[in-house]
């Protein structure tokens, strides 16, 4: 019976080109758009640079040395004035206000020391933190270079000897951004969006699958099915397995595309990917069935599911990474299905942790999936008998 329910649903899908398109092609398209926008282009494998300008208000040797250091920093991209003249403070403020640059650095005199004022756009909190760190390090290095070269010369260490490196040799690497996770990998944003979009569409697909149950109820097919030897248990299980299989296939196609076009290493993480995908699809399918059995009509389901899925996707990190959110929002995000799924995929693709490390995510998703399925079964009792 369960297999027959499975077959019926699969055949219905295969007879609907539009539904096939929505299930498999639209998620890939969305993911590709997000990956290109936020990943810096197809096949890009480097951390994005922050666009800045510098205004040297002191114009001393020290300030010039600092600016020169910052220009060399690979984490920053300095914009030049179109007129080749130097930017004024007002021009710098205006450029930040208009969003033409992410930040302006005002290099100023502070007694006999150099100080830098950062003009930032507070909507980009990450950039402000990164640039603050880079500039702080650059100031220290510039001051050492200007005021204590003799000390380093006096303590010059012979070539090949172990010990601290002199500033002159260390300076080239002093502000190098060292990425301890992403070395040699594709852009983290790509794998994050592959998982984020896939999970979001998995939820949309699951609520659509649940809608099929309401359609059967509305046109009395459900009643007819229940007058046969098919039980509600078998019907729900058949739909659950079918939706899980389609969801798994949907994610597999999405990540295969991500590997082919954006360089996400699917083959290298196949075990973790498959177990995360299977459990995520099981939980998403149960969520779809729960929503369907809780609603009275397909219209109601459609409205509720759009609001719920979009809210969960926003809070859970499918649209923007959770690490850019405040602590409290990150905590709220853990109430969503997406957050646990994305944390799991993050462990698989980005942190490259073993499958055992997925235990918390798998446990939460599996338990919530089973609870939602049981709740759906209880709600469906009202359809079995008046």
């Amino acid at each position: 019976m369960i297999w027959t329910v499975w077959q019926v649903n699969l055949r219905r899908l295969l007879h609907n080109p539009m539904e096939l398109l929505l299930t498999f092609i639209v998620p890939i398209t969305f993911f590709s758009i997000f990956a290109i926008i936020f990943g810096g282009g197809v096949g890009i494998g480097s951390t994005p640079k922050i666009k800045v300008i510098a205004v040297d208000q002191w114009e001393s040797d020290l300030s010039k040395a600092l600016v020169d250091d910052l220009v060399e920093n690979p984490g920053l991209r300095f914009m030049r004035s179109p007129s080749e003249s130097k930017y004024t403070t007002d021009e710098a403020k205006e450029l930040v206000r208009r969003g033409s640059v992410g930040m302006a650095l005002l290099v100023q005199k502070d007694g006999d020391r150099v100080a830098v004022e950062l003009l930032t756009d507070s909507s980009d909190q990450v950039a402000a933190q990164v640039v603050t760190a880079i500039v702080t390090q650059a100031i220290v290095e510039a001051e050492i270079k200007q005021h204590q070269p003799i000390r380093f010369a006096a303590t010059e260490i012979p070539a090949g000897a172990a010990g601290p490196q002199p500033v002159s040799s260390a300076r080239d690497e002093s502000v190098r951004v060292v990425d301890v996770i992403g070395e040699g990998k594709s852009n983290p944003v790509v794998s994050m969006y592959a998982a984020g979009i896939a999970v979001m569409f998995l939820l949309f697909g699951a609520t659509g699958g649940g809608g099929a149950l309401l359609e059967e109820r509305e046109n009395q097919t459900l009643e007819r099915l229940l007058s046969t030897q098919l039980s509600m248990d078998q019907l729900l299980l058949g739909k659950w397995f079918y939706m899980t299989a389609i969801g798994t296939l949907q994610m597999l196609i999405m990540f295969a595309w991500a590997q082919l076009v954006f360089g996400v290493d699917l083959i290298g993480h196949l075990d973790g990917f498959l177990i995360m995908t299977l459990v995520t699809a099981l939980a998403a399918s149960a969520f779809g069935l729960l929503l369907a059995t809780a609603c009275r009509t397909r219209g109601q389901l459609s409205g509720i599911s759009v609001v719920l899925v979009l809210t969960m996707s926003a809070l859970g990190g499918s649209m923007v990474p959770r690490y850019v959110m405040s602590e409290s929002l990150q905590q709220y995000g853990l109430c969503t299905f997406n957050a646990w799924a994305l944390d799991g995929f993050d462990k698989v693709f980005w942190r490259e942790l073993p499958v055992e490390a997925l235990a918390p995510q798998l446990a939460v998703l599996l338990i919530s999936g089973i609870v939602m399925l049981l709740a759906a079964r209880l709600l469906a009792i009202r359809w079995e008998m008046d």
Partner: protein
């Protein structure tokens, strides 16, 4: 209201042949389906109130009733989709709740309860499997059903693109894939053209030849009259009439016939007939139609015509109308609208 049927020649219907066979062969066997004092309420509404009746093997019963009378609730109770408050139901002498008892039932709902995005063959196969047939048996039954419905050429076409009549035939076939002994049909011909109705009735006649018992709910009174051996009328959750059409007529409106006579010229005054034909003068001055009722056509019709001639008029045409099922139905259930 001209709703009567002209019955100058009484037709012996196919249904009556079946009735005779059933009465002689199956009267000693237990009913295929029996309901005893079945009750169901929804809040203060008594949807079914001590409903009792039985169906013999091969019998066809039409269940009539105004909207909201309880017909669909009754079908749902029999199928196990609605829980009874009180009463018992038996299939082949066994309680209907017994293991596998409901497998002897087949349901054809009023709606087209099919998958529009599956082909005819796929729908038939799916419902055969849902009704417990093995893969091989299901494939064989699908071949039979395609032939039975006359849709062999459309086996691979999606049902969603079919005409109403074709969908109805597939809808019917999906209810009999497991060869049920009792087929419950909830208005099986709603919204179909006369040709499709005829085809559906031919299909049902084939099933009856194979011994399937049929319980049919309908608002089409002519359909009920032609396609059933017995008629049940349900109103306000109660069975208010149970019998053949002639029995219902006898018990309700009586067996008198309406006679309409056209004379050769407009009447100059009301006609006086013999007392046993009509105690009061009949006919309206200025018209050429005389209408009256007679109890026995064979005896009184010739006397009536003779009496008209004695009044100085020639008879140019005669119509004799038997009481219709519609008369019976309205007589028993009243003329008020039932807005459910």
């Amino acid at each position: 209201m001209e709703t009567c049927f002209v019955v100058c020649i009484h037709q012996v219907t196919q249904a009556q042949h079946f009735t005779d066979e059933i009465l002689t062969s199956a009267v000693s066997e237990p009913p295929v389906l029996e309901l005893r004092d079945v009750e169901k309420s929804f809040g203060s509404l008594h949807a079914l109130n001590r409903v009792s009746f039985s169906l013999r093997g091969g019998e066809a019963i039409a269940l009539l009733g105004p909207n909201g009378a309880g017909k669909t609730t009754l079908i749902r109770c029999i199928c196990g989709l609605t829980r009874l408050d009180r009463g018992t139901m038996y299939v082949l002498g066994n309680p209907i709740e017994g293991d596998g008892m409901r497998r002897t039932l087949g349901l054809v709902p009023q709606e087209i309860a099919l998958y529009g995005d599956l082909s005819t063959k796929e729908n038939l196969y799916a419902f055969a499997r849902f009704n417990g047939l093995s893969r091989r048996a299901a494939r064989e039954r699908v071949r039979w059903a395609l032939k039975w419905t006359g849709l062999e050429q459309r086996a691979s076409d999606l049902v969603g693109y079919f005409s109403g009549g074709m969908k109805r035939r597939v809808n019917l076939a999906c209810g009999v894939m497991h060869s049920p002994q009792v087929l419950l049909l909830d208005e099986p011909t709603v919204g179909v053209d006369p040709q499709s109705r005829e085809r559906i009735f031919e299909m049902l006649a084939e099933l009856r030849k194979e011994g399937t018992t049929i319980l049919l709910t309908t608002h089409q009174l002519d359909e009920a009259e032609k396609q059933s051996d017995r008629i049940l009328i349900l109103d306000h959750g109660r069975i208010i009439a149970d019998g053949s059409k002639s029995q219902l007529v006898e018990q309700s409106v009586g067996a008198s016939r309406l006679v309409r006579i056209r004379v050769d010229r407009p009447l100059t005054g009301p006609l006086r007939l013999r007392n046993h034909l009509s105690e009061t003068p009949v006919g309206r001055v200025g018209t050429d139609i005389v209408t009256t009722r007679i109890d026995d056509v064979s005896q009184h019709l010739s006397e009536l015509l003779h009496s008209v001639r004695q009044n100085g008029y020639d008879v140019s045409d005669v119509e004799v109308h038997a009481p219709s099922l519609q008369h019976v139905f309205l007589h028993l259930t009243g003329n008020e609208l039932r807005d459910d």
